[in-house]
Symmetry: D2
Subunit: 250 residues, 4 copies
């Protein structure tokens, strides 16, 4: 058994080789720290810009099911803030933030990184044909609310491009979106999960932990919502109303 | 029912009044975003420096019980990264990161913010006397491993002071530590949880969500450990060894 | 490290000394099994009757905050039923089922088991005086909805009495309720949590795991609600309505 | 929004039409109650025997990863028993108890219930061929420890048969096991998850909640292990040893 991330003794804590007290605290900001922790090294300025943009875009999205679950949990266990946050994270599965993972997986399993630019259109056709044959939804495309264009997608893709991260994964996702639109005859813009999955793949993040970007972001959001719940509660009202309305008739 | 944090419609997402696409992504980094989300406004440069230092200091502390719980959970549910992170957070209660909350509560309930500098020593004597009478451990002092001086504490307190956040909460905690040492006749240095609780109180953070700083930080750490678990697993070995060793005799 | 509960090898699994295949499956029912697992031996018929009554009384209480949290979690992670149940359990803290623990703790810390019947009234006066002085709510008394008499309380106390479990803990709780009513001049009937805490204490259950009775019971309830959520969903509607209603004005 | 499970008001609580106080407490035992809660009616004696056998078989299996995660969580949050149980349940995913779901899904999606006995062998061949073609493991067969015969499987299948529940789902699973053994040329006995998945299908349980049988059972086991952890702790030792052993070299 071996973990290479941290070495600590009575005098010091070293994280990926950097001393927490002298090299990190006061010198490395939160975005850089998250990159260091996950990638094992500090980011370049370009990586830093792109990674911060990805996480920041997922921190807050209103009263999501995850936020409501956390607030309802806090109502019953106000002395266990961690249990409320844990409950909120538990629902960040395949349906919501988990779709980032689906897009990253699709692009990484297609070995986009090893392809030439010329090979991208053929890869995209293969992917769309396979998902169509298996009657599966292509991850990272379309959005129930932002039907026309997800406002965040273009911004994230621009920041990636400006910083040198419009590589094969992004190109492949764009090609998949175009091919899907033609093949399925529906407007299927890249959504924010798709953009994040593609850009995280450009940063070299294993698809199996891409859901983690959402977890890091949403933990921040959940703490903010629990603070609001303390000051201006809504969970009790939500509970009592729902219980009253949904009871079976006598 | 009302939540003031976020307003979203088909065209835009506004968070505490800022437009996510045009004002936040690419302009606000992760530390600033966390501050915005929780405080409802962007931080000053001084607040930003101090807040980043607090969170960064808690991201990683090796193979903690929380990390082991997350890795063992991942072993059984590798397709639910969020469940493994949630399991890891569930143990961040009163014993570990939760002690931040204890220190912040003690300082905030003493109404340190309303005291003059002259009143601090008397407040400290009251606090120590009360904890002593109730046979309770004073939160934020002492450390099982870093017996002499926690290397992180001095660094965090320096950064706070340099940025104008050595206010009454920090002064009161220092006075409590000195008084406790005299009264209990034991070396009781301020530990990292105490320093964070005091500095978070300087930043105006309600003690009831101070545990959240640890949750935000450790979620990052848990994602990194789960990535390591995928590449270089230890949970299965830990399980099999423990099961084998701890079985009752036949 | 030693765990005495279970011994398993390639051929057999022994639980508290009984062989799972030959002694337990098909011979021991679920209530007896839970008793065996927790107490380390099979129950007497009287213990069995009382223990089953306790657990059964907590299985279902409608669309509680815990049930809503589980259903909202399932909406985002339908392939992780365990995460939805875990989210639902996370809120069973001090406010709801956790109050069982408070009552059991109060009775066990008063060393009711060691008292004679004559000493009970004095113990009750001490307890009520102490909670009054500390301005704390006495656990196990009163109920927000069932103001007059909780219909379950009398039934549980009868079953306990019929089976020989109206011992000192139950007597002390009754004396505390009477004393509280006189001293605080309010109608404070024993509620179902109080009755369960007292009866679990009669069964010899450590107060630190009494919350577990509620966890065992509610896990059953959560599974049933998630099945209903699959067949007749309400979480999506609850989310969309709440999000729409609670948005801040433009 | 409508939930048909429970109706409660100030005077009574009705669960699937039965009054909790007069019809359930003291009359319905825990196994029957779980059946009532999930199926919406009380079980027949035969259903009761079979259902109890299924749940009882999963309560305890030693120091599993789930138990270790719960004990490590309790170490950090001893005042939140529910968080420790929730952490333990979080890992009951696809790898361990979740495999029940896989077996039940395979049998229910094959529409075993609608088949005649003559059609079973052909259904089994189709299933094995499909899993082989897709290079997927057939759920419910084989076991890492109990290589020859899982001691629980035969017992559960006997109890099912004795009570009239050796129907098409059980027959199909047996046919799949025989076909898999021939086709893959490996000994692949039905394991306990497979038997439970098949028998739960006989009882009419939707595969999407079959994982719930394991959750109900293991919650009991987790409470018992947390009681043992309080009396005879091992989590701290497990943590300190692992941290010490697995640190990277200086």
């Amino acid at each position: 058994m071996r973990s290479a991330i941290c070495r600590s003794d009575a005098d010091s804590i070293r994280i990926h080789g950097l001393d927490l007290t002298t090299d990190i605290i006061g010198k490395v900001d939160l975005g850089q720290m998250a990159f260091l922790e996950i990638w094992g090294r500090l980011p370049t300025p370009e990586e830093n810009a792109v990674f911060n943009a990805l996480v920041v875009s997922l921190v807050e999205h209103g009263l999501t099911p995850s936020v409501l679950a956390a607030r309802l949990t806090y109502l019953g266990a106000p002395d266990s803030l961690q249990a409320a946050v844990a409950a909120g994270l538990s629902g960040l599965g395949t349906v919501f933030v988990g779709s980032i993972e689906g897009a990253a997986r699709m692009l990484q399993e297609a070995k986009a990184a090893d392809a030439t630019e010329d090979q991208i259109p053929a890869l995209a056709r293969e992917i769309v044909a396979r998902f169509k044959a298996e009657k599966r939804i292509i991850p990272g495309l379309g959005h129930p609310i932002h039907k026309q264009v997800d406002p965040r997608t273009g911004r994230l893709l621009s920041i990636a491009a400006e910083n040198g991260f419009r590589g094969r994964h992004v190109q492949l996702l764009e090609a998949v979106a175009a091919e899907a639109e033609r093949s399925l005859d529906r407007h299927l813009p890249i959504n924010v999960s798709g953009a994040i999955g593609a850009i995280a793949s450009e940063l070299g993040m294993d698809w199996r932990v891409c859901r983690g970007i959402g977890l890091i972001a949403r933990t921040i959001g959940l703490v903010a919502h629990l603070l609001e719940e303390i000051r201006s509660p809504l969970a009790r009202e939500l509970w009592l109303r729902t219980e009253h309305e949904a009871q079976p008739p006598e």
